[in-house]
């Protein structure tokens, strides 16, 4: 039975094998993964132009930093392509994220996989443990929205329409600092996520996210 799962797409037609991830979840997962990688690389390129973090509205060399990252100042124009790639992948990531969240509510993906039922023996609690569900919900409904809002809070055009976006955070430099830490938290999540997949077995976890099918008899985490 396990052999049929190796055949990937062919296996999808076999009713004996359960569908672990829907097509929308798989597609949005991988587009998000690629755009997140691009956002990470380009974010570092932008950060390196001024690797100091401040609190409040303003900050510059000569004013106190809250964190002086032990990184070199790279002033050779790397933030140019950095910004272009950052905003292109941000558009891809945000649109994909909206598709994922709306379809997730519509197709009961969140209710089925990431909710917190009172009944401990219910089907839901068998799939992901509490720690996993808490981290997925935090990432999807906490850190990604925070990344988007702190990113927009750094835009003088956007804050001319929505000034609260930046003043509630304490200023433009505070928004930049929170953006950095929320991004770092997402990177930590990614490392943990990949480590868990590795521990559970790359083949048994990666194939379902590509083909949609779980290997028969392989349940849980």
């Amino acid at each position: 039975m396990a052999e049929s799962a190796y055949l990937g797409q062919l296996a999808i037609q076999s009713s004996e094998i359960q569908v672990r991830h829907s097509r929308t979840v798989r597609l949005t997962h991988w587009i998000t993964a690629f755009s997140f990688f691009a956002l990470l690389v380009s974010g570092i390129a932008i950060l390196l132009a001024h690797p100091r973090l401040y609190w409040g509205e303003t900050g510059a060399v000569g004013t106190p930093a809250i964190i002086d990252l032990p990184l070199p100042f790279v002033l050779t124009g790397q933030s140019g392509w950095g910004r272009s790639l950052h905003f292109l992948s941000a558009w891809v990531c945000v649109i994909t994220g909206l598709v994922y969240v709306f379809s997730g509510f519509f197709m009961r993906h969140f209710q089925a996989n990431l909710s917190f039922p009172r009944d401990r023996d219910s089907e839901v609690s068998n799939r992901y443990n509490v720690l996993q569900r808490v981290s997925y919900v935090l990432v999807i409904f906490g850190f990604f929205p925070l990344m988007i809002s702190t990113g927009l809070a750094m835009s003088p055009a956007v804050t001319s329409v929505f000034p609260d976006l930046v003043t509630l955070l304490g200023g433009q430099q505070s928004a930049r600092t929170v953006h950095f830490f929320a991004g770092s938290a997402l990177l930590l999540f990614l490392i943990g996520h990949v480590a868990m997949v590795y521990r559970a077995g790359f083949r048994s976890r990666l194939l379902p996210m590509i083909t949609g099918c779980a290997i028969a008899g392989d349940e849980g985490a």
């Binding site: 001024h50 303003t58 933030s79 910004r83 905003f87 055009a157």
Partner: protein, 253 residues
């Protein structure tokens, strides 16, 4: 896979492609008509630039105002990027305290004109305390005083076909704004900073201030302003020196 299934799939794919393609053509036409396509829209990054520019233009369409601050919030440290222009003419004008300096305003205007610093200062001034962020990441708050660009453009009379305003400094860092940003009440031609004459490193005798965009749009050391209907005819055709250096033309971010 059955025959009817594959035929239906082919039909769906065909219709989706056709709808997508015609949707793109319509979007491009509308974008062009309503000025939602930036001059540096080419290439894969151009797609991101266009989405950002179009959405922010629609979002800020009603002259939304950049945040303004209290005098107590003015920064004590105000860094400087770039160096004074390496131009003999500029050095000569500077040595005479810019008494012989003139701002040339021409292009698609009814009355092409030259303005001295004294003339510019005789127009109704505007002062504003605004935040300026450098694309590198640092920022400061300062008070700027000058003539709203929109006022000067009214003086010279912008012709109906005008769409962009181009700024030429004494150095090579030229740039441009769309007419919407140029006519925004906070877009200033500043001759004073924090109550003093504009210091030389900050762009004396006259610089642009565009508080709804990153610092690099605020062209220093102005020499000439030209109104045009198309940026394709100016310089590299991309509206600014920035795309040559890898940076975007629109910097509302």
């Amino acid at each position: 896979m059955s025959k009817s299934f594959s035929r239906r799939k082919l039909l769906t794919a065909g219709l989706t492609t056709a709808a997508g393609a015609s949707g793109l053509v319509v979007a491009a036409r509308l974008g062009e008509r309503y000025g939602l396509i930036p001059p540096d829209h080419q290439g894969i990054y151009g797609l991101g630039e266009t989405l950002t520019y179009a959405s922010q233009r629609l979002l800020t369409a009603h002259h939304s105002m950049a945040r303004e601050f209290n005098p107590s919030e003015i920064s004590k440290v105000i860094p400087v990027n770039g160096e004074a222009p390496e131009s003999e003419l500029y050095e000569k004008l500077q040595a005479q305290n810019f008494s012989e300096w003139r701002l040339r305003v021409d292009g698609l205007v009814a009355r092409p004109s030259m303005f001295s610093l004294t003339q510019l200062k005789s127009f109704p001034p505007r002062s504003q305390i605004t935040h300026q962020a450098c694309e590198e990441g640092w920022s400061f708050i300062a008070e700027w005083t000058g003539v709203p660009l929109g006022y000067l453009l009214d003086v010279v009379g912008v012709l109906p076909q005008a769409r962009y305003v181009v700024f030429f400094p004494f150095d090579t860092v030229w740039d441009s704004l769309d007419l919407d940003e140029a006519l925004h009440p906070q877009t200033l031609l500043a001759y004073a900073m924090n109550g003093q004459e504009l210091p030389a490193p900050h762009g004396a005798p006259l610089r642009l201030r565009v508080p709804r965009q990153l610092g690099y749009k605020s062209v220093k050391y102005l020499s000439r302003i030209a109104v045009t209907d198309s940026l394709k005819k100016v310089g590299n055709g991309l509206g600014s020196v920035s795309p040559d250096l890898g940076y975007s033309w629109y910097a509302g971010i």
